[in-house]
Symmetry: C2
DNA sequence: GTAAGACTACTCGGATAACCTCTGTCCGAGTAAGTATGG
DNA sequence: CCATACTTACTCGGACAGAGGTTATCCGAGTAGTCTTAC
């Protein structure tokens, strides 16, 4: 039970992009990758996931790169995490003891407590209080 | 990001033991394993973890098996999960951008919301409302 | 000066390799209860 | 009868095999600016 390193990268790049969003110029993978000590190839793979979910927009060609879409301030932590990790529940009881495993109920309910917090906080929230890095 | 199958087994086993706790006789791995379609060898491996954490007591030799200790009603979901999965945080930011990554703070706080729920509910709580299987 | 073409700096996406953790198996050792045996 | 040894039914724990998913790399393809060159 660990959050994947991928979501770690995703969250950090989103933060970086958010801080660069004022310039309106797309940021290259190179720059993003360097800052986190990841290969460009791998980071771009993560970013395409985010692009597909509409949480990042990409511009190809020279002077291209990644930037945040107009509505970026409403993007929550949960959105980002689910874009990378998938939306599946953290716990499923594979046994067949009738519908509604009491254990699963508790687990899912606990999980939702966490998701609620993640849904409520956005990348934009971070910027209000802190500066980068 | 998934709860391991091991914790699933552990939780179900604990529930089973709790329901059998009235008899005061230890339950063999065989019986526990059959019910969950796991091999004895693997389940016993999980159980020894729980024994080491003092959440299950074992009696070896003939007529031996596993049972719950006297204070079992206070054992929470979180106790069980951490006994299997470890107590490490679900998220760590490996980057060195000064102490206190803002992202990590959010993630840890969300995680604690979940843990709070898991700490508050016990196996005993389940039994109050439901019968086995 | 300008239009066509080559060049360069990017992202995109599939295929694949390396790796790590979870899952599961095998087997030998220890332990305690029940059972047989010999005096 | 009673003590000793043997058998049986368990847990304990280490070593190791297998699977699946995450992490990461490589490389070819597409795309859009930019620069060069020829007229």
């Amino acid at each position: 039970m660990k959050f994947s390193r991928g979501t770690n990268y995703a969250l950090h790049t989103m933060l970086h992009l958010a801080l660069s969003s004022s310039t309106n110029k797309p940021v290259g993978v190179q720059q993003l990758a360097e800052q986190q000590n990841v290969s460009q190839a791998y980071l771009s793979k993560i970013l395409t996931k985010l692009v597909k979910e509409g949480m990042v927009s990409s511009v190809s060609g020279a002077k291209g790169g990644y930037s945040l879409p107009y509505n970026w301030e409403s993007i929550s932590f949960l959105d980002i995490i689910q874009a990378i990790d998938g939306k599946a529940s953290l716990f499923d009881c594979h046994f067949e003891h009738g519908p509604g495993c009491p254990i699963e109920k508790v687990m899912v309910s606990a999980e939702e407590k966490m998701e609620e917090k993640l849904r409520k906080t956005t990348i934009a929230d971070l910027i209000k209080n802190k500066t980068m890095n």
